[in-house]
Amino acid sequence: MALFTYETKKDTRSGFGAGMEYLSQHNPKVVALCADLIGSLKLEGFIKNSPERFFQTGIAEANMIGISAGLTLGGFIPFATTFANFGTGRVYDQIRQSVAYSGKNVKICCSHAGLTLGEDGATHQILEDIGLMKMLPGMVVINPCDYNQTKAATIAIADYEGPVYLRFGRPVVPVFTPEDQKFEIGKALHLVEGTDVTILATGHLVWEAIQAAEALLEKGIKAEVINIHTIKPLDVQAILASVKKTGCVVTAEEHQYNGGLGDSVAQYLAMNHPTPMEFVGVNDSFGESGKPAELMEKYGLNAEAIVAKAIKVMARK
């Protein structure tokens, strides 16, 4: 039985592009910057509508972050865009000093996060970006799950005052969340109700978690699936309520175990409600070239892997 259905598949980065196009028409304070990747970030619509509010920085990400910080003075809301590797790891200190410590209202919006950028390989497949960004005091970290949610998140962060890291990806994935949804930063979304195991998923792994819940249901296991689109601030109330009911938890993300959603959840539960827990993610390894689906299978980031971890964690209750 299908718990969720979808009609089309789209890339989350196109959801970002659609959100930016909306903002070009509805928020005159939003400005966009890009480091020579306009097509990859789907910024054509924004630039067509608001060419004077777009700044091409060339392949110079450090400068892009500094310019973004400067543009906030005078009331602008800069969206600094590039691939996740170049927008976080490469410019960590610029984000740390000029944005986070300086408390600037900059939105760092990055595509091609994780393994699913595919063939370009490990140089581009950052799996540490959530950790890098969530460690910065005051930084909000968001990883939406599909086109519609990425569009909604893009629009929502413009109305939030403060630095945000918005992470999305390259491949087309099922569009299963509602069109024109309201996005609430830090508010986890219950997708499937269950009593046997909690699955907390973020980004591309949310759809896989739903598929896993369907497979578990066929085995008579009722999994609860929660979409943690915001890793920081974490919706600890929603997580706590669910694990109190199910007594065990699996986290799923396209990221290293270290620094990801899983370790935020583990830290919270260890202090407040110790619970058997398993992780679906990349375990201290770089990625490699390949097709997205092949990589997700090889590194254990799909529905099958979530099912196996769910069964394992239930045995530990």
Binding site: R53, G58, G66, G70, Q97
Partner: protein
């Protein structure tokens, strides 16, 4: 403002710098003393700053319709703190808290502690020019005709980000920006020529498309004349870079012509010897 008046303020600012660094036995007096004449000119004469009806400066983060200054080489924090306090942004008594626990006057400047006059954190080098360019572009978008100023060190020119910014500003015609390089020829590991030669900075910035000028950064008259000349070049399509020759430790004879005082505080006797060379013009804090 007459240059004699600027020199009077500079003498007091230099006293402040020495006393602040002595007070916490920490900080960077050499570069602070070297750049004093420029910052006093900017804040007391050249820059148009927002004031209330009584003429007192008022601070808001956005800084629209006023000139803005960004300090990229944040380690000369005693200088910016003294100048901001003397200009009226916060009480001069607060200078005594420099680098001490719970202070707003952190080792390197930051808006994190809500200190009036500071708009960006600096200290990790190479970032200020990018921020200044962004602020200048924000002014253009807002139709704000005021000017953005930025000071960098010459050692700071080692940082790659500086050259990303150097390439960007002329390409985007950021012509409401006047930047400075403090060419004191020294950095932590020795003379700039030995550590990492900047070679011909003037030729480099010219090649990137900047309107480049030179001045003596320890000569109040030359500073005023050069800034007047630079202001006349604003709005002509190119950002302006002023390479200013300064002497680290300027104003205190035994701190000059050496790199020794980059990041060293004077002891009690050295403080007395230094203060004896600088007239107390506005009253010590």
């Amino acid at each position: 403002m007459q240059t004699q008046e600027i020199q009077k303020i500079s003498s007091q600012v230099r006293r402040d710098i020495l006393r602040m660094v002595h007070g916490c036995q920490s900080g960077h007096p050499g570069g602070s003393l070297g750049c004093t004449d420029l910052l006093v000119d900017l804040y007391f004469s050249t820059m148009n700053l927002k004031t209330d009806a009584a003429g007192k400066v008022v601070f808001d983060m956005d800084g629209t319709n006023e000139d803005l200054f960004f300090l990229s080489n944040g380690h000369i924090s005693p200088l910016i703190y003294s100048v901001l306090a003397r200009r009226g942004y916060f009480p001069t008594a607060e200078l005594a808290t420099f680098r001490k626990i719970d202070t707003r006057l952190q080792g390197h400047p930051t808006p994190h502690e809500h200190l009036e006059g500071i708009r960006i954190a600096s200290g990790s080098l190479g970032q200020g020019l990018s921020v200044a360019i962004g602020a200048a572009q924000a002014k253009k978008l807002n139709g704000d005709k005021s000017t953005v100023f930025c000071l960098m060190g010459d050692g700071e020119q080692n940082e790659g980000q500086v050259w990303e910014a150097a390439m960007y500003a002329p390409h985007h015609k950021v012509d409401n920006l006047i930047a400075f390089i403090d060419e004191n020829g020294q950095q932590i590991d020795g003379p700039t020529e030995k550590v990492m030669s900047n070679r011909d900075l003037e030729a480099k910035y010219k090649a990137f498309g900047w309107n480049v000028m030179r001045m003596d950064g320890n000569n109040a008259e030359d500073i005023q004349n050069t800034l007047n000349k630079a202001k006349a070049e604003l709005g002509k399509g190119s950002p302006i870079m002023i390479i200013m020759k300064t002497e680290m430790g300027a104003g205190v004879d035994f701190m000059m012509y050496s790199h020794k005082w980059h990041g060293v505080a004077p002891n009690d006797q050295q403080l007395q010897d230094a203060l004896a060379q600088l007239e107390e013009t506005l009253g010590d804090y």
